[in-house]
Amino acid sequence: MMGKTIELVCPAGTPAALRVAVDAGADAVYCGFRDETNARNFPGLNFSRDELREAIGYAHGRGCKVLVAINTFPRAGSVGIWRAAVDDAVRSAADALILCDVGLLDYAATRHPETRLHLSVQAAAATPEAIRFYTEAFGVKRVVLPRVLTVAEIAGINSAIDCETEVFVFGGLCVMAEGRCSLSSYATGKSPNMNGVCSPPSHVTYHEEGEELVPRLGGFTINRIPRAEPAAYPTLCKGRFATAKCSGYIFEEPASLNAGALLPGLAKAGVTALKIEGRQRGRAYISAVVKAFRQALDAMAEGRSVDLDRLLALAEGQTSTQGAYAKTWR
């Protein structure tokens, strides 16, 4: 038996997806405003001010928390846009704000001292020293750990800090330390840190060349995919490239993270919350994944085990990896 229950934190790109996640058993849902203030600034996604208020009402009525991600780095000279997002999220009764920018954290901590602050993965705080900086300076209550750590390292961090930790367990996987990557910006001019987008569809083209499908990003060939192979989205760091030593997936295969098998280990490591990536995902996906993790966590709390991979089989077509949680990944 585990001593405490772990919080399940689920993505919502739309009000409909939020209701699905709440109904499927999420303990908390995270979402963002429909603008450049959040790191999933995709067309057709995210919440207006009114939608957020309504969504929070729906979630709170069912015992679910709502965390609002304002996790891009404010543009110099336009910091007011990000500050307004903070003010509006607080006014909407958000349970916590997920922030990464030092200036914005300072503003939120000063202006809204009662509001719970979480440190976004975009802040890439990977050491006890970095985490303590944010807890001491801004009273951050929870840190979302970057996907660069092993389970053992996470346990070490938890024993050295006095705030909660949240870790990604499923979905898209950044190969690079989050918040410290401008690969997309180099090829397209649009970056996760400044624009909330990575490898944006607006800069992607597809060409059929002979027996291959060739996706390009900002004019750079990201892959040449044989007809028989499934074509993953051309995220820059998950493309095939060539060096003098070898060609292929130099950085990472187009795999997604699945740390389902590590849940007991992560619980033992003292993690407070598990996060599912995917605010860009549809309702069917959200429903299936949230239900699967809900069952797995309930079973774990009761000392039972479930075959999470079987539950997830429908949700994720492509190959999966345990990423940096396994030391061999490095």
């Binding site: 780095f73 404010p74 543009r75 110099a76 000279g77 910091v79 920018d101 030092v102 200036g103 914005l104 300072d106 802040a123 890439a124 705080a125 990977a126 050491t127 006890p128 020293e129 970095a130 900086f133 944010y134 660069v148 750590l149 390292e153 070490g156 690079m176 330390a177 918040g179 410290r180 990557c181 401008s182 690969l183 910006s185 180099y186 090829a187 001019g189 840190n193 400044m194 900002g218 004019g219 750079f220 060939t221 990201i222 892959n223 040449r224 493309g239 095939r240 490239f241 060539a242 060096t243 003098a244 030593k245 070898c246 060609s247 130099i250 950085f251 940096a324 061999t328 990944w329 490095r330």
Partner: protein, 300 residues
Amino acid sequence: MRPQVGITLGPVLFNWQPDAWRDFYARIADEAPVDTVCLGEVVCSKRMPFFAELMGEAIERLERAGKSVVLSTLAMPTLSRERRLMKDLVAGFDRVIEANDMSILAQLAGRPHMIGPFINAYNETTLAYMARRGATSICLPPELPLGSIQTIAAAAEGVAVEVFAWGRSPLAISARCYHARVHGLTKDACQFVCGEDPDGLDVDTLDGQAFLTINGVQTLARSYTCLIGDVPQLLEAGITGLRLSPHTCDMVAVSRLYRDVADGRCEPQAAMEKLRLALPEVTFSNGFLHGVAGVALTGS
């Protein structure tokens, strides 16, 4: 005439052989018109022992030549060994430290320090917060456009503002070592293969486009950021320093050209032409500064 703008030599990002490292700094001390020199390993802690014993000699020679010496810290310490190492380095160094990670910032509170380009300071409020804690200068993140640079510089109030003006721009850092990966090795048994590529390992697209550069756990641009043609605009924007990132090319010649342009002794376009002639195999870029794809070269 006292120069209006400082020139900083950034830390060597690559795994250079100890002899090459020592000779490089000796020549910089004797010949390069740079004001500040950042020393120290930023990318991989495993490389540190190779030049640790050369540091003292390099610092002494640089300071004798009138340069300010700054110690740059690791961009992503994670292992407890690395964290101890950083803590001890910072505690034992009585000159200015350049922080490249938030881990080290708490330790530097109240002590004058520099904010390195690996720390996310994207706006004036973040810089103001860091200045209150003792930051005296900052090298802005390479992806910032001119408008942001201008706003930050205008609000900087006594904090020196430097931009990344020469060399392959750092784009990403990972827990995974790509040099080890492409050589079929593990990170823990990497055999220091990154030492074979003193300017990094070329990464092309499958269509042969020159694209990126691998340097251990770091990924950089393939093109060299070259802001020499933009120096007048940068000065107008209020920056106080230009950072040159070391490569195996003639960095003394590069720094002289930047010095001459900064001091108004050479036309920016003429300097750009000289760089092109000296380095015909290198592609230049300044796209980040102009708010477009970083790889682009505009305005020249």
